[in-house]
Amino acid sequence: MSDIPQELKYTKSHEWVRVEDDGSLTVGITEHAQGLLGDMVFVELPDVGDEFEAEQDCAVVESVKAASDIYCPVEGAVVAVNEELEDAPEQINVNAYNEGWIFRLMPSNASDIDALMSADEYTSVVEAEEH
């Protein structure tokens, strides 16, 4: 069973979401997802200022096995992107929950976060996939 930190929120498409003090959301892909994808070779980041709806594809992670879309967890505007991934996409493999963050989003409605999954709910999703 891979690492699923309790304090984060999750999506069924394997993004993690951390609520920051200023109300913005940091988004990345979970330890489980990076393990399935394998070694990352390229990350296509959104641009700061881009606006996305919930579940809209907003970034791409490309590994040696596949290219996968990253979906926006809730509606909002991008306020920051992890530019270090452009030169070091492997940070997602090394530390998916910290240095491997992909972008930061200011949600249109703060309450949308409540609809995201808790760590326990996401654990069941991953367990169901593994069986």
């Binding site: 390229f42 296509e44 596949a66 290219a67």
Partner: protein, 460 residues
């Protein structure tokens, strides 16, 4: 090449596996009105001998005129070794093999092709080739829209000095994708992009196409144009003739930062005119855009034992991985033509290609000097050209071409319909001269054209 038909037994076997009684039943679900049952205009089968005779008779109808027509397809000398080698069994396939890694030799040829194109265009990376120059330009337009994420515009500036045929092909391919092509007028004195109309553009655009030499043979101010487009936040697509690159500045060196994408028709590199095809497109770009480059890319790598090898690379751009989000649906290349182009470039070398280009330029200048002396004929855009120039006549251009054809001269292309509002001339011929012409050819052409124009004016 062996032709392997399905025997009746094999057909029956396949049908029984599928569970259909006949071929007709297999295609039963296709509605009647969509079927093409009767091919009435196609005659019944003929023997090989009869077909050979028909085809050689048809072939003779073409004749072997002295060719001064260009307009995107150029007659050059092709060393005999090019096609002797290209048609060897090891190379002779129209396609990239689908299991490309199975043929290291094929991959190496493509890798060499890419390296030569990158070097010729002064770009970082090249793909394995595209179908032809016109569809290559359309791919470049699509690529520029994808790649230019700063300018969120679907506008492309397309000068009238780009081949009208290319503009049509691009329009056909991109028009249903919400992309608009803004036509930039021709400056009727210089035969190049109208700079005033260009810089008057206020709305954002994704890319500017710069043809060099342009369709009329003239030289665009590529450095200034490139810098201007970059200042507007746009990308620059250089549409270039590979032969001309032996003498002219490569698109990678245009302006301060260089063009972002270089694209063009590879036919001049060892591919025969052949009534218009098959030809081969080439496309190269800066490293930072490589993930938006369409088509196959071959990379050089090492195997587990450290031995060099070649493999398809960056395939996450392609449709078998990215599905609908692939950079394009081009998942092959123009294998045979790219092989011929690679051989041509290898045999010619830098010096050889420079000689071809220089000799074409010299011949073109000679012909222009001869044409200038003919009454009723003028050079509206001057003599700053590569190997093509526009000739303005005060008699009907089609009539002149017809009469030249009677003398076995393919005298050029009548471009009057495409450039009818330019410089007040109603009859414009686009004429091309390559290294294949001798001094005698040029004199014969000029003298014949002079006689024909005179005769028409005297009402004969």
């Amino acid at each position: 090449m062996p032709y392997i038909p399905h025997t009746p037994e094999e057909v029956a076997q396949m049908l029984s596996v599928i569970g259909a009684d006949s071929i007709d039943e297999l295609f039963d679900e296709i509605p009647k009105e969509l079927r093409n049952d009767g091919l009435d205009s196609i005659p019944a089968r003929q023997s090989e001998m009869a077909i050979q005779r028909i085809l050689s008779e048809k072939g003779l109808l073409d004749g072997t005129p002295m060719c001064f027509a260009g307009g995107g397809a150029y007659e050059h000398h092709i060393p005999a070794a090019v096609w002797e080698i290209a048609t060897r069994g090891e190379f002779y396939s129209a396609y990239t093999p689908y299991q490309a890694e199975a043929s290291q030799g094929t991959l190496q040829v493509i890798y060499e092709f890419q390296s030569m194109i990158a070097s010729l265009t002064a770009m970082d990376v090249s793909n394995a080739s595209l179908y032809d120059g016109a569809s290559g330009l359309a791919e470049a337009v699509l690529m520029a829209i994808r790649a230019n994420r700063k300018v969120k515009s679907k506008r492309i500036l397309m000068p009238a000095s780009v081949s009208p045929v290319y503009r049509q092909v691009v329009e056909t391919i991109v028009k249903n994708q919400g992309i608009s092509l803004e036509l930039i007028d021709l400056d009727s004195d210089s035969g190049t992009i109208d700079r005033e109309k260009l810089t008057a553009q206020t709305e954002a655009f994704s890319a500017l196409v710069i043809p060099q030499p342009n369709y009329l043979g003239c030289m665009e101010e590529v450095h200034e144009l490139t810098d201007w487009a970059h200042e507007q936040g746009a990308l620059v697509i250089g549409l270039v003739n590979p032969t001309a690159l032996a003498l002219l500045e490569a698109p990678g060196n245009w302006g301060k930062a260089g063009a972002d994408i270089a694209v063009g028709e590879g036919q001049p590199l060892g591919v025969p005119l052949a009534s218009g095809g098959p030809y081969v497109g080439f496309m190269a770009c800066k490293q930072k855009l490589v993930r938006q480059l369409p088509g196959r890319i071959v990379g050089r790598t090492v195997d587990l034992d450290g031995k060099p090898g070649f493999s398809l690379t960056l395939q996450a751009r392609e449709q078998h991985i990215r599905r609908s989000k692939a950079t394009s649906n081009i998942c092959t290349n123009q294998g045979l033509m790219a092989t011929a182009a690679t051989l041509y470039m290898a045999f010619m070398g830098t010096n050889g290609l420079q000689k071809v280009a220089a000799s074409s330029v010299a011949n073109t200048q000679r012909l222009m000097a001869l044409m200038e002396k003919i009454p009723s004929v003028s050079l509206p855009f001057g003599k700053q050209v590569f190997h093509e120039f526009v000739l303005a006549l005060d008699v009907d251009a089609d009539t002149v071409l017809e009469r030249l054809a009677q003398e076995d001269i393919l005298g050029g292309i009548n471009i009057s319909r495409n450039y009818d509002s330019v410089s007040g001339h109603k009859n414009l011929l686009l004429i091309c001269v390559t290294e294949t012409k001798t001094e005698a050819d040029l004199k014969f052409f000029a003298a014949t054209l002079g006689d024909i124009v005179k005769a028409i004016k005297e009402g004969e």
